[in-house]
Amino acid sequence: MIASFTFRHYIFLLVLRSLEGDRTPSSLFHILTGKKTSQTIQDIKWYRLTEYFRMFPYWDKETFQKDIDMLERAGMYREEEERAYLTLKGKKEIERYFHDYKWPRLYNGWKYSHAAGRFWERLALFIQSLSFSLAKRSFLPVFRDFDTQQWVKQHWPRQLSKKKTIAQKLHEELVMLLRELPEQDALLFTCRLSGHNHSGYTLQQAAQHVEQHDMDELYYRFHAVLHYLLEAGSDLPFLGTFCTDLLSQKILTDSARKTQEYLAQGMSLSDIATIRDLKQSTIEDHVVEIASEEAHFPISLYVPEKVQQAIIRAAQNSTTYRLKVLKEKLEDKSVDYFSIRLTLAYFGGTDGQA
């Protein structure tokens, strides 16, 4: 049987190209499925992979294992000492596949995937309700969970004139934004909306309509539209109401948030570890996570400015972000791993800019 590779396989290889040789296959799995651990968060920051975060949240471990086995047999991927490598053939295959690929206008899993689901639920239910209400007909709601229904209720226009205004304005805003997208993406988004003249399509049905049959890619393209609307719509008067509260939510893990509260009270890391009955290293993970998210994180309290600069220099002159390699490069041998991780997380990426 000839192995057939699809969008998700090539995305896997593409992500692998960035952290080749530095990470295990499961690190890649966690990035693409969006597992929020300190390690994953550091990875996507250091290697600038925030865009790929949570691209395929539904990918299960078993399928993933089968997928990489298949790539390995096809000579595009190999593992050595538990680390993942891209082969020359793999590199060529990525270039071929993505050579004239039309990327969506925007996709940023790290920034938007936590908000995209709720945003879509609100938008789809609100538009459906509005469309049917103006047609004076009853309907089965697309979303019935409490939060979404409650939100729509709170934002529901009571008078007819208000309904008409909102329909007009929301329509205007959506048309304006969607016109900026590739035709197929705009079509994909609109055909999934329900209203008085049309019952929304499931993603499967939309595949037929837009003639795009790779379901992973379709899932990605659909979410890319949502991410784009979240980014471009958050400043608009009508679309903005659907997303502002969702975007302001912090993306820290619950446990890191708790650590953050203790830090704000002025406690030391070891005090927090004692109080929470956790290992010091776990608290350090939290601090690294907080540093990567908070632009105002007081990093100099933890790492002297001179040391920060030395670490950034070492990172810039290195092709890898493996901690051990970086530590060896530093002249000052007393710098610990925590300082390196914290500095890299805070400044993020390859160019040392926050």
């Binding site: 019935r144 409490f146 939060d147 007009q168 329509h171 048309v175 609109t190 049309h198 019952s199 499931t202």
Partner: protein
């Protein structure tokens, strides 16, 4: 117009009651315990909804079907009745909290049987006046029913805790022994019993011998193309709903879609919506997961795989012809169909190794909930197996006072064996009915439910002979949505071009 009729019109928009509804409501309003055996689609939910709104206090409706709860709450809300809520394990903690703290403003609370047993829920319910406890799918309480659920067994004691409010037990199908079980376990006193025939004269019954799988597919295609639409096709697995829908889409002009429990809530809602709107002609679903919606004009129900008992069969074909117009129930019978329902029955219970290991795993656990959780999360047990084990382990422990794992396992294994035999027996009754070629199918079905036959309709069954009188279907004139997204969006928002 009297008070009941006035409310009927005000809240539900009907001008008159259907057969028997009124008698049931009057018995309920008189505070009597009531058992009703009414086929689905005959407006049985009205029998508690209307009394609930008329009476002071709260009506609690126990239902195991999540989709049914949601649909009923939604329908009531659409009709302007906001004082209703559904409480089940799928809600978030905040949602649960919100409902429990607003009980005084509710008239109807739908609740799943497992939620009803939580002490937090009971504590709040006890503070309010419960005017009626309605138990839907009441046959689940009986070990001799076709869908026994251990969490139903506790409703009797929960009712006692609530202060023994009047109880209305509803079921679509129940043989006499199941009815007796319902009365005993719910501790109903001198209940009024309303029984409606399972016979639906406007549905013709047909079994077609379809041989091997390939012949069956051809036969299915032929039937769906011949019959008036819309219709429902039942299959035994999720996967098969999808392949069947694809088959119909590719080989006929009909629009078909799959519908099953593995799909997201959003997708299921969309498919329901499309089916109601007439965008989909044929829906393919599993017989474990029927539709929670009420579409009156379903013209046919086809079974590609047969259900495990006649009770399920009657319920499933009952989705056809709720508008009273002529409809068909067709079952395609293959040569090797017996395997699937047998394996489904087997999988319903833990095997002897799972029983033994499961019991030793939970033998030191006193809380039922914790034991269940342990089995599911650590032991990897299926939810229904875990629930079953915990229930009978506790029963054993309470009655014998001993914690011997092997003795308990023997006790439970014997129950498993008995229950399996019982189910296989029901399956054999189903098969007897299927393979019978000499006796009128309607008569034989009614026999099973201990009913006598009335007048046979003209289109009765394949044994009596079915005249080809059904009108040939018109090709559906389907409006595809435009490929121009701007046009589509404009229509959606009612904007001028």
């Amino acid at each position: 117009m009297d008070k009941l009729e006035w409310y009927l019109q005000k809240w539900f928009g009907y001008t008159s009651f259907k057969d028997g509804q009124r008698d049931i409501m009057e018995a309920v309003l008189a505070g009597k315990d009531v058992v009703t055996v009414l086929p689905t689609g005959t407006g049985k939910s009205l029998c508690y909804q209307l009394p609930a709104l008329v009476q002071p206090g709260l009506t609690v409706v126990v239902s195991p079907l999540l989709s049914l709860m949601e649909n009923q709450v939604h329908e009531l809300k659409q009709a302007g009745q906001k004082r209703v809520a559904a409480y089940n394990s799928f809600l978030t903690f905040q949602e649960k909290h919100y409902i429990l703290n607003h009980l005084q403003s509710l008239k109807i609370l739908y609740i799943s049987p497992e939620s009803l047993q939580q002490s937090m829920v009971m504590k709040q319910l006890k503070r309010h006046h419960i005017s009626l406890l309605a138990v839907d799918e009441a046959h689940c309480i009986s070990q001799w029913g076709h869908e026994f659920r251990t969490d139903y067994m506790k409703i009797g004691s929960v009712r006692k805790e609530m202060g023994q409010p009047p109880c209305l037990a509803l079921t679509a199908t129940a043989t006499a022994d199941v009815q007796r079980d319902i009365i005993r376990r719910l501790q109903l006193s001198d209940p009024a019993i309303f029984y409606h025939s399972v016979d639906r004269a406007n549905i013709s019954l047909e079994v077609i011998q379809a041989g091997l799988e390939t012949e069956k597919r051809a036969c299915l295609l032929q039937e769906v193309s011949r019959l008036p639409i819309p219709g429902i096709v039942y299959t035994a697995s999720r996967r098969k709903t999808e392949t069947t829908a694809r088959l119909i889409e590719s080989e006929t002009d009909l629009a078909a879609a799959a519908y099953h429990g593995g799909m997201s809530q959003e997708d299921r809602n969309l498919i329901q919506q499309q089916f109601l709107a007439g965008d989909i002609d044929v829906i393919c679903c599993t017989n474990a997961f029927g539709m929670g919606i009420n579409k009156p004009n379903v013209r046919f129900v086809i079974h590609v795989d047969y259900p495990k008992d006649l009770e399920s069969y009657v319920q499933e074909i009952g989705r056809a012809g709720r508008d009273g117009l002529e409809s068909c129930a067709i079952l395609l019978l293959g040569d090797k169909d017996g395997v699937i329902p047998r394996s489904i029955i087997e999988q319903e219970f833990p095997d002897s190794r799972q029983v033994r290991e499961g019991i030793s795993f939970i033998s030191t656990e006193d809380s039922a909930l914790a034991a269940e959780k342990k089995l599911i999360e650590i032991g990897g047990y299926e939810e229904q197996h875990a629930r079953f084990l915990v229930h009978y382990w506790q029963e054993w422990h309470q009655e014998s006072g001993n914690r011997d794992v092997l003795e308990a396992a023997a006790y439970i294994n014997e129950i498993v064996e008995r229950r399996t035999m019982w189910k296989l027996n029901k399956l054999r009754k189903m098969e007897e009915w299927l393979w019978n070629e000499s006796m009128c199918r309607r008569e034989k079905l009614l026999h099973y439910f201990e009913e006598s036959t009335g007048e046979r309709p003209q289109r009765c069954c394949d044994v009596c002979g079915l005249p080809e009188t059904l009108p040939s279907p018109a090709t559906p004139d389907r409006k595809r949505i435009p490929f121009n997204w701007e046009e589509q969006l404009r229509l959606l928002f009612h904007q001028e071009g």
